[in-house]
Amino acid sequence: MSRTFVGWPAFPEAAAAATHDERLRANVTRATHTIRGKRARLVAERPDWEDLRDSAAALKDDVLAHLDSYLLQVEEQVTAAGGTVHWARDAAEANALVTALVQATGEQEIVKVKSMLTEEIGLDNALEAAGISARETDLAAAIVQLGDDLPSHVVVPALHRNRAEIREIFVREMGRHGRPAPDGLTDDPPQLAEAARLHLREKFLKARVAVSGANFLVAETGTVVVVESEGNGRMCLTLADTLISVVGIEKVVPTWRDLEVFLQLLARNATGERMSPYTTTFSGVTPGDGPQTFHLVLVDNGRTRALADEVGRQALRCIRCGACMNICPVYERTGGHAYGSVYPGPIGAILNPLLKGPDDPQTASLPYASSLCGACNEVCPVRIRFTDVLLELRHQVAEGDAAVKHPAEKAALRAIGAVMEHPAAWNAAVRAAGTAGPLVPKNRLPGPLGGWTDSRSVPEIPKESFRSWWKRTDGGTR
């Protein structure tokens, strides 16, 4: 069984460990700065960039507001084009469905196109438990899988690995899963890519079943859209006899024409390219060309929970470009694993609590994994207001189950709640603070309050409170 994020520590703990890993920080900083620069150049050549963002946000809002009818349209169109549509309420149901579909083919090894949803639901492990080996074919996803590692970015899941680490993983692991790495493999990126080509080519030529996700799902025509760079997506979508696309219900766009908006935004914002090398679009089954059996599995897994949140539902506009994590000062310092989810960075900080509910300490810690600087708001192609959602989710955590709160916040809220209910006690406490001011340590508060001062100085406490100043000077008139 491969590693999962189950039982992952809360963000402050995981981040503390990550920020001490100098190699990780160097890898993440180099990668995020490279993508940022490429993106900025490509976005700057579009005078209508803000217009494209306006259109994309409105299109996604329309989809979310009428998601029931759009999904029924998808079902009707895909069915008419020869595909079969399945619905899954949660991860377990989706995994059971896909496992049964693969088992019906009798195949023991299948190929996969990188899909964050299948990472989210843990499909590879579910298939493995049923004796089916699902091989990842995207280079970064394959690096993660071969290294028994976890993804740290939605576009470049192995962003936290450098070339030397990748070479070591290939040399050690490829032979255990098929064609071994070539003798004398160096850490030169073209050589590493060639090793992946050779290792995976024999799998593509043999594979009878493929699993994919989708970037977009066109309601009007039932068209599945998969954007990729290497050609591994085309291999899976084209060569297999049976194709199973596992797609989140929020991936819908209304009409074919609307792709002119999203295809112009996605690659520019994700990788700093005008278009990714390959985009495949298909509707159901085409006789004589590509898979002759097509299954579409529509997955909820918390999306309807997020949809019910009036502030948070905008997170479902997300097209997984990764720009918010590339620009995020917190992500740059912690890397993706600290977020304890396949969705790291600002989108992870809002999407995970929305999908799962902020009911456990790990998820509840994520809305605090932000300095609220708002850089993510500015780069988001669908205009998600991350900072609005983060504040709303902090509010929900603070109002919600006390068990998941930060210990200091919990203690402080308990104490302050009692004092604020009694004006006399409040005045006494404030006077005491003024008197105690000189005694409060300047650098580190004691006990559970120490968490606050780990990254801040204690402010000067005025000798006199506002209320006592007001009383003494009659509102400043004396």
Partner: protein, 216 residues
Amino acid sequence: MTGAREEILARIRRATADLPATAVAVPRAYLRHAPGVDPEDRTAVLDLFAERLGEYGAAVHRTDAAAVAPTLASALPAGRAVVPRGFPAQWLADWSGTALADEPLLTREQLDAADAVVTTCAAAIADSGTLVLDAGPGQGRRAATLLPDLHLCVVRADQVVSAMPEAIGLLDPRRPLTWISGPSATADIEMIRVQGVHGPRRLTVLLVEDSDVSDA
């Protein structure tokens, strides 16, 4: 499975009960054409197309209808090339390699062993340097343009539009479409672009400039 379907739809209806039933107004103020290029200026559009393809590392040969055969022969090494039905035979007149017809269907191994594939396309987009194949005449099924290591595509000048919004209406979403913007590539190792992974490692485009260029 009906249970899951009905339950998800019911959850959606509950979750969106506060939202108006009317469609959300979608602004469409973005450009219909490539920024900075007059779409009526065919020379400018074709120049942009060639430039953008070149930036991806694709080889671009600009030619005219009379010179397609010799240009193709110089751009395509002699070897075994898959030639889909509908690809004009006269364009191969000067080429000395072996043409492989995909009828009866070639096996995956046979396609993999071919040196190249030659095709036409359904449309092309200058702004993003994109070729779109729709498996129509001269283009073959999708596997045929995927497994050979070199893809040579012949594009007629009148197939090149300036930008994505012009192309989308020309294409039939019910056909399987492959949008190709340069050779296969990856940046998954330290964000360094490596050209050539699983798809064809080399992309060669013959741009046939004809009557519609002479009046530009």
